[in-house]
C-alpha cells in the first residue's frame, strides 16, 4: 500500500509504485474516486489524459516563442519558510511536493527544475489556474468587442434568467462577486463543489447528480447576497464565464483558447482540457500544459499583454487586473493574502503593489511581478487542497528570489 500517512517523507510517484508495472499491481492502481488525492496526485496530475477524456488546445503550426536562458544558481538561496525556519530553494522544492518550478527574470529563464518524473513535455494539470487562462481569453474577447464586462450575463445566456445569476453582470462573474450560493467545500461529499466534480466527469456520479456542467449551472437558483457585495470564490463562475464566451463567439472553448492565446503566444506544446459528457472543456480546472508554456502565459501578463512579438491581450485589461478592490476581499482569503484582492480571475497579491497570480489547489501557482520583472511558476502535487502555510512559503521563496535577482541581497 503506498504510504498515505507519513507526510514528512516526500516520495515520487515512482517510489510509490503508482501505476507502475504491466499490469499495475493492485497496490499501485489509482482509485478513480480519489485520483486527485494524496498520494495518487503525485502521478495523476501529469497523466490526466490517461485517466479522463480530453480535448486538444492546439499550439498551431507557427514557430515556438523562444525563451532565452540565463541560468542562475538559486538552489542554495536561503529564505524563511512560513514556520520561521530557514530553508533553501532546493530544500523547499524537495519538501513541497514539487513537480516543476521555473523562474523567468527580464524575459530569460534563470531557473528551471523538473521533479517527480515531470519532463519538459509533460502536461501538468492546472487546477484552478484554468480560470485565469479562461479569464485571459475573456480579456482578449473584450478587446475585440465581443464581450462587455458591464453586460448582464443573461444577454449572452438568456437561460440564466431562471438561475440565481439573473441580474449579475459579466464583471461579477469575472471577479466572483455574484451573490449566487455555491458551496466551495472540497471535502464534503454533497457540496456544490462535489457535484461539480461529478458533473465534470472527474468523479464517479452518485445519485441524481447532473451529467454535465451546464445542467449544474441551471440548478443554482439561490441568491444569498446582493450581486457585487463581496468576493466569494465559486469555481462554477468560471464555467458561466466560459459559456458566455462560447455563446458570444459561436466557437468551442478549446478552439477559442488555441486561436486567441495558445497559437499566437507560440506555445511549445499543445495543451489539453478535460471534457464533460457533453464535450464541454472544464474551464474552471481542466486545463493541462507544460511548465514552460505556463511561464509563457505568465510572461504575456508581465509584458502588459505582449508575447511572441505581438499584442495578445489588451494593455488596459492587464492594468485593470492589477486594480482589484480589497474592500470586497475578506476572510478566509485574507489568511494567505492579507492585503489581497481578486480581479479578472486573478489573485492580486497586495493591492498596493502590482503582482498578481493564478492559483490552483494542491500547489499550482503562476506568479507575475512587473515591478521585479519576474515570472515564477510552481506545479505541485501537495497532499492538501489548500495550505496557507505552504502558500505563504511559496510567496516567501518568490520574494527571496526576486531580491536575489534584483541585486538587493
Amino acid at each position: 500500500m503506498p504510504d498515505r500517512t507519513d507526510k514528512t517523507a516526500v516520495k515520487t510517484a515512482h517510489d510509490l509504485g503508482i501505476m507502475r508495472g504491466a499490469p499495475v499491481p493492485p497496490t499501485g492502481r489509482v482509485p478513480f474516486q480519489d485520483w486527485d488525492r494524496a498520494p495518487w496526485n503525485r502521478w495523476t496530475f501529469q497523466h490526466i489524459r490517461e485517466i479522463l477524456p480530453t480535448t486538444e488546445v492546439w499550439r498551431g503550426s507557427g514557430p515556438v516563442w523562444q525563451l532565452p536562458g540565463a541560468p542562475r544558481n538559486l538552489d542554495d538561496l536561503s529564505f524563511a519558510a512560513d514556520s520561521g525556519d530557514e530553508t533553501t530553494i532546493a530544500q523547499w522544492l524537495n519538501d513541497d511536493f514539487t513537480d516543476g518550478f521555473i523562474v523567468l527574470h527580464r524575459g530569460s529563464i534563470v531557473f528551471e527544475r523538473y521533479m517527480n518524473g515531470m519532463t519538459e513535455r509533460s502536461l501538468h494539470l492546472s487546477q484552478s489556474m484554468a480560470k485565469s487562462v479562461t479569464g485571459t481569453v475573456a480579456g482578449i474577447l473584450v478587446g475585440q468587442g465581443l464581450l462587455d464586462p458591464d453586460c448582464p450575463v443573461t444577454e449572452y445566456l438568456p437561460e440564466l434568467k431562471r438561475t440565481a445569476w439573473n441580474g449579475a453582470t459579466l464583471r461579477h462573474v469575472l471577479d466572483m462577486t455574484s451573490g449566487v450560493r455555491y458551496v466551495e467545500d472540497y471535502e464534503a461529499l454533497d457540496s456544490d463543489m462535489a457535484i461539480t466534480d461529478m458533473a465534470a466527469g472527474w468523479k464517479p456520479r452518485r445519485g441524481r447528480a447532473p451529467t454535465c456542467i451546464w445542467d449544474q449551472i441551471m440548478t443554482l437558483k439561490t441568491r444569498e447576497r446582493v450581486h457585487g457585495a463581496s468576493f466569494e470564490y465559486k469555481t462554477i463562475e468560471a464555467d458561466v464565464l466560459a459559456y458566455c464566451m462560447i455563446r458570444a463567439t459561436g466557437t468551442g472553448l478549446a478552439e477559442l483558447f488555441s486561436r486567441e492565446l495558445w497559437a499566437p503566444m507560440g506555445a511549445e506544446e499543445s495543451a489539453c482540457m478535460t471534457v464533460d459528457s457533453t464535450g464541454y472543456p472544464l474551464a474552471d480546472a481542466g486545463f493541462n500544459a507544460t511548465l514552460r508554456d505556463y511561464a509563457r502565459f505568465g510572461l504575456v501578463h508581465l509584458n502588459g499583454g505582449i508575447g511572441n512579438g505581438r499584442r495578445i491581450l489588451p494593455l488596459e485589461w492587464v492594468e485593470d487586473t492589477r486594480k482589484g478592490d480589497p474592500a470586497l476581499f475578506n476572510a478566509p482569503y485574507t489568511d494567505t493574502l492579507p492585503n489581497g484582492a481578486y480581479r479578472n480571475t486573478f489573485w492580486v497579491e497586495d493591492h498596493r503593489r502590482q503582482a498578481y497570480m493564478a492559483i490552483g489547489v494542491f500547489g499550482q501557482f503562476i506568479y507575475v511581478d512587473p515591478e521585479e520583472e519576474l515570472v515564477a511558476v510552481k506545479l505541485s502535487s501537495w497532499p492538501e487542497f489548500l495550505s496557507p502555510p505552504r502558500a505563504r512559503t511559496f510567496l516567501n521563496a518568490v520574494h527571496g528570489i526576486a531580491a536575489r535577482l534584483g541585486g538587493t541581497t
Binding site: 489509482v30 490517461e50 477524456p53 480530453t54 454535465c212 462560447i246
Partner: protein, 390 residues
C-alpha cells in the same frame, strides 16, 4: 445549452451518426496515452496530384461506380494514395480536419505486430516461446499454453465470440473492460488485463484455425510492455513513430489502469498512416532511409501465414479474401500484385500494393462495424486504383 441530439458520448460513439465526428475526437470520450512524434521531421512525401476520381469499379450495390462517387458514398473521412514517395491523391470529407488523429481500430493490431517484430529482432521476445514465459499471470487461462506465434497469427483456441452487436455477452464485458463502453456497475469496474486472463479455452488445439479474437492483440500489447519495460505508447513512439519520421503525435486509448487497447485503440493522422504503409511496402525501411521494422519481419508477413488455418476459419474472412492468409496481424490478399493490408472495422485500411509501388490509406465512419458489401467494394476500389497506377 449542449445540443444533446448531436453529442457523441461514451454510450453512442461507435454508432451512426455520432461516429462520424467521434472517430476523430476519441480523446474527448476515452482516456488516452500520447504517442509522441517529431513535428520538425522533414516532409516524407511530395505532392503529385492526378485526377483519379474517374476510376471505375463495381460498387457496394453491385453496380458500377467511380472513385469520385464512392468516397462520399462509402462514409470516407480520408483517402491518401501514394506511389513511390509521391502523393497522387489526397481526399478528405469536408467535416474532417486531417490534423485530428482518426481512430484506426484493428489497424492498431498490425502496428503493434511491427513493434513485436522489433522486439523479436532485439532478442527480447521469441515468437515460438510460450506466452507465459513473459506473462506468467496467464497460467490457467487460454493464454496459459499457447505460443506468442499463436497470438500473432490469431490461432489461439479461446472461448470468445467477436460479436460486435451483442450488448450482453463476453464481447460487451470486453468493451467495458477497455473503457470503451459505460460501466454497468460502476462500483465494480472491470479492467482489460483481468478480463484477458479470465478467458478460457473451447478444447480444440491451438494453431489450427484462424479465429479473429481481438483480445489476443491486447495480450500482445501487454507482453510488449512487459519485455520493453515501458508504457506501450512510449515504446511505439521510440521504436516506430519517431524513427519513421512521423510528424504528428498519435495516441492510444487506455483502460482505467493504463492498459493500452492495442487491439483497436490507436488514433493517428492519415498522413502518418501512409508513412507507416510506405515503410511496410519498402521492407520496413521508412522514406527517411531508416530501417525501422526488421526486413525479415516484413518478409515473413508477406511470405508466410497458414493458408489452411485461413480456410478453416470464419467464412466471413475467407469470403472477403478468398485467396487470403493472415500473418502477424496483417492480411495477404493473395492477388497477383502481392497486395497486403491492415483492416479495421467501420472502414479503416492500409492497403499496400508492392507491384504498383502504391500505398492506399482509407479512414472512414461506416455505420456498421462489419459491412460485407462495403468492405468488398473497398477492396475492388483499391485494386482498380493500383491497376490504373501500374
Amino acid at each position: 445549452m449542449p445540443d444533446l441530439a448531436q453529442q457523441y458520448t461514451l454510450a453512442n460513439w461507435r454508432t451512426a451518426p455520432f461516429n462520424r465526428r467521434a472517430f476523430h475526437h476519441v480523446r474527448e470520450i476515452v482516456p488516452t496515452a500520447e504517442i509522441a512524434a517529431d513535428r520538425n521531421a522533414p516532409a516524407p512525401f511530395t505532392a503529385a496530384p492526378r485526377d483519379i476520381t474517374g476510376i471505375a469499379f463495381e460498387g457496394a450495390g453491385g453496380v458500377e461506380t467511380t472513385l469520385g462517387r464512392f468516397l462520399p458514398d462509402g462514409f470516407t473521412d480520408a483517402l491518401i494514395v501514394l506511389q513511390g514517395k509521391q502523393i497522387i491523391c489526397e481526399w478528405y470529407d469536408e467535416d474532417y480536419d486531417p490534423a485530428f488523429p482518426h481512430i484506426v481500430f484493428s489497424v492498431s493490431k498490425s502496428i503493434t505486430s511491427c513493434l513485436a517484430g522489433i522486439m523479436a529482432d532485439q532478442g527480447l521476445i521469441d515468437p515460438d516461446a510460450p506466452a507465459v514465459r513473459y506473462i506468467p499471470e496467464a497460467e490457467g487461462s487460454a493464454y496459459g499454453d499457447c505460443t506468442v506465434r499463436h497470438i500473432l497469427d490469431m490461432t489461439v483456441d479461446i472461448d470468445f465470440e467477436e460479436s460486435y452487436l451483442d450488448p450482453d455477452g463476453a464481447f460487451a464485458r470486453y468493451r467495458e473492460a477497455t473503457g470503451w463502453n459505460p460501466l454497468r456497475d460502476p462500483a465494480n469496474p472491470p479492467d482489460l488485463r483481468s478480463f484477458l486472463v479470465s478467458l478460457g479455452r473451447t478444447g480444440k488445439p491451438h494453431g489450427e484455425t484462424f479465429r479473429y479474437i481481438s483480445p489476443n492483440s491486447d495480450f500482445l500489447g501487454w507482453l510488449l510492455e512487459r519485455v520493453g519495460g515501458k508504457p506501450l505508447a512510449e515504446l511505439l513512439s521510440a521504436h516506430i513513430w519517431r524513427p519513421m519520421g512521423a510528424r504528428d503525435a498519435a495516441y492510444i486509448t487506455v483502460d482505467r489502469l493504463g492498459a493500452p487497447r492495442t487491439a483497436g485503440g490507436i488514433c493517428t493522422t492519415a498522413h502518418d498512416l501512409a508513412l507507416f504503409g510506405a515503410m511496410m511496402r519498402d521492407g520496413g525501411k521508412a522514406p527517411n532511409g531508416r530501417q525501422v521494422v526488421p526486413a525479415g519481419w516484413v518478409a515473413d508477413i508477406r511470405n508466410n501465414g497458414d493458408r489452411q488455418a485461413w480456410l478453416n476459419g470464419d467464412p466471413g474472412f475467407s469470403s472477403l479474401l478468398p485467396d487470403g492468409r493472415y500473418r502477424s496481424k496483417w492480411y495477404q490478399t493473395g492477388n497477383r500484385h502481392g497486395a497486403f493490408c491492415a483492416i479495421g472495422i467501420h472502414g479503416q485500411w492500409i492497403y499496400v500494393d508492392p507491384a504498383a509501388d502504391a500505398v492506399i490509406v482509407k479512414l472512414s465512419a461506416q455505420p456498421e462495424p462489419l459491412d460485407d458489401l462495403l468492405d468488398k467494394a473497398n477492396l475492388r476500389a483499391f485494386d482498380a486504383i493500383c491497376r490504373a497506377l501500374k
